[in-house]
Symmetry: D2
Subunit: 375 residues, 4 copies
């Protein structure tokens, strides 16, 4: 039970500090025989990379991944897969004068309180650099899911940034990878670009909300009561740096609903159960129905901004802090590929858990069904 591991059968363990020589992840429990190579993983890292667009941070990291184990002649072996990414653009100098000061809104002070020691450079282990490792793990999960759940798709996009929200009537999945915001709304790109540029000029930052649409999830994934699919998806999103809220389906809005509005009726379709609506968000009792799953989460604004903030340092001195590092005016943007990666890991994990307990066999619905199946 490692604090730095995520997953129950398909498990990944990340390591590495922001300014250490490298960071990486050990992926365990991956099914054998999955085609995998570095070219499979790299594009996902590229989408997340700092310095890739003008929209995100100005730290330039190539984030080149190397596979060090667990793959042979282009296929996974079932043994642990080690993925490593070297840090090249640390610029430790940027952080020198805040060596013992605690940046407001960051984990500096809590790491100091808990451990009594912290690698302060670039936020050390608390830095969002760690999410590069998650994205690499997610690429492995996606490769396995391509074999095990070919109808599955996981698509992330932004739905809000500060005062701006998308117009769902113009929603177009095809637009997401064509702009720097992962926006599914082409008409909004200009407005979002101008808005964020202004925020950067103001030396400020802004929050965001991200949504994931999971389509074609096999039904029956999720293990009640404490390994429910929605519980694990929510935990996955909440574990991402700066996330403060998570919603499944209707989310917080469910508090305002009435039961008459909320029930998803069921009919029998040509291929099995046909749900007439999807208020449940594709999950009932913690188990997937096969319908679309929508997960949404909110990311708070970066606190590493360029206006002065009052703080203290480990010696107990009061001071004002101006962090001169290179920071994101909106970290929510990069959370999109991270969330997709986490979701891929959760779904693969649950697919493996389900086939552990049930062999992946589903209960039948049709004439002659007694409601109980052979093992």
């Amino acid at each position: 039970m490692s604090f730095n591991s995520f997953g129950r059968v398909f498990t990944f363990t990340t390591w590495g500090e922001s300014h250490g020589p490298a960071l990486g992840v050990t992926v365990d429990g991956c099914p054998p025989g999955v085609p995998l190579d570095e070219a499979e993983i790299q594009p996902f890292l590229d989408r997340r990379r700092p310095g890739q667009s003008r929209m995100t941070t100005q730290r330039q990291e190539p984030d080149q991944v190397r596979i060090l184990s667990g793959v042979f002649e282009g296929r996974t072996t079932g043994t642990p897969i080690q993925l490593m990414i070297e840090n090249t653009d640390q610029r430790s100098r940027d952080y020198g004068d805040i060596a013992q000061a605690f940046r407001p809104g960051h984990a500096d002070i809590t790491y100091h309180l808990k451990y009594g020691i912290r690698d302060y450079r670039g936020g050390g282990r608390s830095s969002a650099r760690e999410t590069a490792a998650r994205v690499a793990a997610g690429a492995v999960a996606r490769a396995a899911l391509r074999e095990l759940a070919p109808t599955l798709s996981i698509t992330g996009y932004m739905v809000r940034m500060g005062d701006l929200a998308i117009d769902r009537s113009r929603f177009d999945v095809a637009e997401i990878l064509k702009n720097d915001f992962f926006l599914p709304d082409a008409a909004a790109v200009g407005e979002w670009t101008a808005y964020l540029s202004q925020i950067r000029k103001n030396q400020d930052s802004v929050g965001a909300a991200v949504e994931l649409l999971i389509r074609g999830c096999p039904p029956g994934l999720g293990a009640p009561v404490y390994a429910k699919l929605d519980t694990d998806l929510a935990a996955a999103m909440m574990s991402i740096n700066a996330v403060k809220g998570v919603e499944i389906g209707e989310g917080m809005e469910a508090a305002r609903l009435h039961g008459t509005e909320n029930a998803d009726e069921i009919r029998l379709g040509p291929k099995g159960p046909l749900f007439l609506s999807n208020h449940a968000g594709g999950i009932l009792g913690g188990i997937s129905t096969g319908q679309d799953i929508a997960v949404r989460f909110a990311v708070k604004p970066t606190s590493s901004i360029l206006t002065p903030r009052r703080t203290i340092n480990a010696a107990g001195q009061e001071m004002e802090l101006v962090t001169k590092g290179r920071h994101d005016p909106c970290v929510g943007i990069r959370a999109v590929p991270v969330a997709e990666a986490m979701a891929a890991c959760v779904i693969l994990d649950h697919l493996l858990l389900d086939r552990a307990q049930t062999g992946g066999r589903r209960g039948t619905i049709g004439p002659g069904t007694s409601g109980s199946q052979a093992v």
Copy 2:
């Protein structure tokens, strides 16, 4: 790694179906020497009990807990504590005519799809009866926390029910246990009572939002990156039946914020760090700061309502279903003590995890601190 266990060191495993002879929980990892008896636990169950007020379901269960192990001469022994609650008011007859039909909005169909078999009576394992076992486990956690973290308090209350929201300017903790809604707003009780009665008369149901205020949490709890305190609190809430969204601190609102508004500045107070605000919600980088932690979650409306719904059964027949059982017009109310129990378990677990890795020793802040401590 049990699907029905929650926790990492302080672990509880629940069992039991809604209409089985009993339900219960095995609590493991509890520190030894904690004073505990049935009278300690029973009040928490009473607060949750169906049939206790006119506001909730009409099933009448005494929910009497028995301690079957792990306690000797009034103190915990450090061995597993088995708590059992017998079911007495099952009334299986109520469910007879929906034997193979899947109630819309419930886990019936997903349990059937996943397992191929389900105890359909009263919802079987998917029923919220299971939450009685959690409340019992939470009472054990509270008993241990009284010894280990005496300043800690965990208080839950409703903040929304359908169209009605509390007025935070009238917030008074002392009111919470004086009304049937766990409302901290005495003036609203009449309005909420009338609203819910009307909903019941309409044979309808309504959603709710619950908030937990955790005060006096020791700083330093939470283990990054995948055992963060907020991650585990969120997972705990999301695992409760019918929960669709979870928020920590500002929650989904964080997406609208700007960084200038969001940073909690720090000064040095007489007893250590003094935060000038609490936008972070008491948790930074997944580790507690010692400040108030606010957790909020939304519960969707019950779907077991008395208006007809279209559905199918396991034999593939289409039908209309009217569930004649005894149901809650607002399950969110009973979620309040359940959420408190879950939070107690999470915090105790993290306290034990923290003392595993660090011995509970905190980094010092003051003159002469080098930033690194002895082991």
Copy 3:
């Protein structure tokens, strides 16, 4: 991660003290649809029961098991299965005068040192009563294995008791359940009976060695490097009260062997690989080959004997202790059904783990095999 849970997917958690009202086990992760009822489980408990024969202890416990959850209309539901056994013949009076004294050779003193409190009656949680719960869990595992691995058999028997060892040339599996020793050697029963009676008359006790023969284990079970099948079998045996050594295959004898003697050569048989010998004991690299697996372990003599022993009590007083309770002259006998139960749980667990990671699909051996399979 519960200290009182065993297993990784098929997990059981035991609870209960020797003189508490009951003891039991929660079995989780069991595949759904397995036929199971109390009559299925009871015979295994009867084989283990104290008071069943003159050979074991004189405490008379009916050990009647009740299924409280997880089974519906005669089949497992995939939800937690709670099995409870009430204690009826505690006779707490027997232990009254050793209330704070530590019985030599027992866990009394270590439980006191670790927890600062212990239920001393009958050894509390450290008592071998706990093994009744394991046997119940093992019966559930066997029921599932009957469906999932019908060729599998797990047979336990004694191979040594003090100075007496079986003659393997007279080995006959059919004899095992015909005598009180689980001896596979009919001709030895008289000698063993006399030997043990004399030991009891001398107010003494004696050690034993037990062997398990596992036949028809599916190949491919076991997950290197830290969930190897032999590692988990060894841990399972070592966790049984009073076990001091475990062997797989040649065991400790392997230290004396030369490599020329030790290699199992392989030919191609009509149904696949054919091993020409089995020095490996059915497991290579932690993974089953499909050959017979032999596990052997040694149980030390009971220390609760009737000759006086020097000890101290919690108050620091020195005393002599004569334990007047009812005790086993050879606890190794009852370990036989316990070991079978543990082995069943381990093998089922590994079968589920294997189907999690590989879907249970095996690498093929034959023309056209490229050495790598689809997922």
Copy 4:
């Protein structure tokens, strides 16, 4: 729950194939503030290294360890510690002609059966190269134990090799690091050297038995019933390549003992309980007493020998195999530092688990003790 992770709080996860670019380990849960650098770890790897003496294999690996994370300014941070060792002397050419053949006595065939794919070069993941990663993890554990349990010592040595056994009357701990066999018996070194040289000349190999003496273990470590200290030590040893049997204290000999010989009586000494003997081997009921713990295990002979063996390959062809690689005539020798490393990890893990549940506080023995302590 990763198949390639060991430990419950202090957890390490290994990765890497014999002929991959590197191998390594992620160590998690280490207490913060422990002094650690590469120079601390390297000597343990040097003791294990192949090619270091004429006694072991002739593969020459420098096994230089690099710390890639989790350490800052010479102390552990409490975040994951990544240790990496590059492979330099793979000589893949040696294995070329056995590409699809299964070496008798090795895991080749079982890895193929389980995964359908294997990295065959040098045994891939099943190779004992993996134990280098364990030794590195063990060095981290030792560093933490130096701080947390300064009286603890863990010493491993050989007690048997084939026909030769040590003479315990000549036992001298100081001799162990002075010869290539980790022999505590200086007079035997010549005989063992000659014996092993002859075995190598005969193109044969031989088994061994290793013993670990753990002194000064803090009392109270171990968590019944399924996280007992002896269970975890046994599992640790059994997980080492080629181990076939494990013993604690008297081990398999316990089967021959009588109870009168076996009980360790207790008196009150100046510093607390004083045991008059140690048949229990330092562990009672799975919890340490503070006395010496002796763990012993047997390692089977290497099967990669130079005499021809009959086998098959993945295509189903029968053949004779002569493995021309560089192999150990006695792998038991290198198991000594590996076993020490595993024991260090187990004991540190249990120390942390114990302080999780009990805060490390021990029950008192003396006047006024009520037998129950505050939390």
